[in-house]
């Protein structure tokens, strides 16, 4: 009886793993095959070098660069907000805060990542943008700055939580060694703890990058839907994800070239996150060797 039970459980576990793998393969398959059809009609050179993205207009251009620039711009703004804040929180929690406070604050912060992103999107559009417009009057109603800042707030816990884990995982003996030399807490944090936890911190930042690149709702709502090759944070832009939403929800005919642009955009996004994941995997592997 016991044996049969174990067999069943083992089967379920295996089936679950298989479903996950099959889903992933399915997604990649659809992305690849649809993009292949797309790239039969649009040269990959144009796709990568043309500076305009206007598949839905009469004068069609299929340059992905404006979408990439929109994505990178919002992502970099988000990281410039979340990295300093997240790292400061991580250092505070691991080096300064009493244990009880830490136990209380960490889950509280993680709520930030659990708020539905549509709420953040409207917050960016209705609160942050009007506020920033008072300071910068020439700012457009849709812009990458508000979207980036709010997205940065959302991903703070990715950086603060994982970096805090990395800092806490540094052997206590290193902290003692530093204090024993007469170093202050601040010196110990920056000269010993952060360097020793650097791989974990970098992994947390990469994860935050992935999250920001893949974020859809906030940018679709607050950053606008105008593909534009620019680094100006005050004007409307469009990210890869926002474009995919726009086309998926719009009345573009399925099985048309216009429709297949979303797969080309999708595979671009996939390449980005795939590279980031591999970098973080590689760093984690290296990190483990270091401490063995």
């Amino acid at each position: 009886m016991q044996k049969i039970k174990e067999k069943i459980i083992e089967f379920i576990l295996r089936a679950t793993a298989l479903i996950t793998i099959l889903t992933t393969i399915g997604i990649i398959w659809v992305l690849l095959s649809e993009s292949l059809v797309f790239f039969k009609e649009v040269s990959i050179i144009d796709f990568l070098t043309d500076t305009q993205w206007t598949p839905l207009f009469a004068n069609k251009h299929f340059g992905i660069l404006p979408l990439i620039s929109g994505t990178i711009l919002t992502t970099i703004i988000a990281i410039s907000v979340s990295l300093p804040i997240g790292l400061t929180i991580a250092i505070y929690l691991s080096e300064y805060a009493p244990k009880k406070l830490k136990k209380f604050i960490k889950p509280l912060l993680e709520i930030l990542a659990a708020v539905p992103t549509v709420v953040y999107g409207f917050f960016a559009l209705m609160v942050v943008t009007p506020f920033l417009q008072k300071l910068i009057p020439e700012m457009a109603g849709f812009n990458s700055l508000s979207a980036g800042i709010v997205m940065g707030i959302m991903i703070i816990p990715f950086i603060s939580s994982l970096s805090e884990d990395a800092l806490s995982a540094v052997p206590k003996s290193l902290r003692e060694a530093s204090y024993g030399m007469g170093a202050t807490k601040l010196q110990t944090s920056f000269k010993v703890m952060i360097p020793a936890a650097s791989s974990g911190i970098i992994v947390s930042v990469i994860l935050a990058f992935s999250r920001a690149i893949g974020e859809t709702m906030i940018v679709a709502i607050a950053a606008g839907q105008q593909p534009r090759l620019t680094l100006n944070p005050l004007v409307p832009v469009e990210t890869i994800t926002a474009y995919i939403v726009q086309v998926s929800l719009g009345d573009v005919q399925h099985d048309s070239l216009e429709y297949r642009t979303i797969f080309a955009a999708g595979i671009t996004l996939f390449v980005f996150t795939f590279i980031l994941n591999n970098i973080s995997f590689w760093i984690r592997k290296k990190f483990r060797e270091e401490y063995d």
């Binding site: 530093s178 024993g180 030399m181 007469g182 202050t184």
Partner: protein, 251 residues
């Protein structure tokens, strides 16, 4: 006689647990003082009083006074960071930073805000020489300290402590993680260091205390049972407990 360090009426508590019980001791300058006793008797707790390393433990509470050069180091006016520049520490397990050998030894100088490269270089070299490591590493100071053997790592840690020229060095079982050859090297080193430094060393190895310490304090369950010249403790102890311990009848 004037002592370099003095502990007066020391009681230590960890929450409800009383870890040290009315300890009084005077420690002589430029000598090695060994702290011995069975595991858990309070040796490390006592040692870490002298550089205030117990301050980070939430439940830690101290009664009594510790004097270094006649200054009460638990006085409010004492800056802990400054105190530790004068009182170096070497830990049980070698704990070099994941940095180069050079950066490890230079660490204390750098955090003091010293930027003079030539000066730092000289100090690092001197410290490594004093730690009897210079000849072994002089050609790869840029190598990660973690790539060294355990014994070499511990000597890096000793050099790191020496580089800021403290007057006192605390050592908490510095050879317990080392093999016999590395242990012999570190012991020999300690004997040369006492010319310049006052050394307090915790050891659970009585032979080691016999070999290197001038004075020996025997702790038992938070009490200081006996404190005397090492020769006296080993050949003519006054207390039966001490005799039982050093002859290996318990502990």
């Amino acid at each position: 006689m004037k002592y370099k360090l003095e502990a007066k009426n020391i009681d230590v508590f960890y929450g409800k647990l009383k870890a040290l019980n009315n300890i009084n001791i005077g420690i002589t300058e430029n000598a090695v003082t060994g702290l011995i006793g069975p595991s858990g008797c309070g040796k490390s707790t006592f040692l870490r009083l002298f550089n205030r390393m117990n301050d980070y433990i939430d439940s830690f509470k101290l009664n009594g006074d510790i004097y270094i050069d006649n200054t009460n180091i638990y006085d409010k006016s004492v800056l802990v960071d400054e105190l530790r520049k004068n009182v170096g520490m070497v830990f049980q397990k070698p704990n070099p930073f994941p940095k180069s050998i050079f950066d490890n030894v230079a660490y204390g100088l750098k955090i003091q805000g010293i930027n003079d490269k030539a000066f730092i270089k000289t100090r690092v070299k001197d410290a490594l020489k004093q730690a009897a490591l210079w000849e072994e590493v002089k050609d790869d100071l840029g190598k990660s300290a973690l790539a060294l053997s355990g014994g070499q790592q511990q000597r890096v840690c000793i050099a790191r402590a020496l580089a800021v020229e403290p007057s006192i060095i605390l050592m908490d079982e510095p050879t317990s993680a080392l093999d016999p050859i590395a242990t012999a090297k570190v012991e020999k080193l300690i004997l040369t260091l006492k010319e310049k430094y006052t050394i307090i060393i915790v050891t659970h190895n009585m032979q080691q205390a016999g070999r290197i310490s001038d004075y020996t304090a025997f702790f038992y369950m938070g009490d200081l049972i006996e404190f005397d010249k090492t020769d006296t403790i080993f050949t003519n102890p006054k207390m039966e407990r001490t005799e039982n311990y050093i002859t290996g009848r318990f502990g």
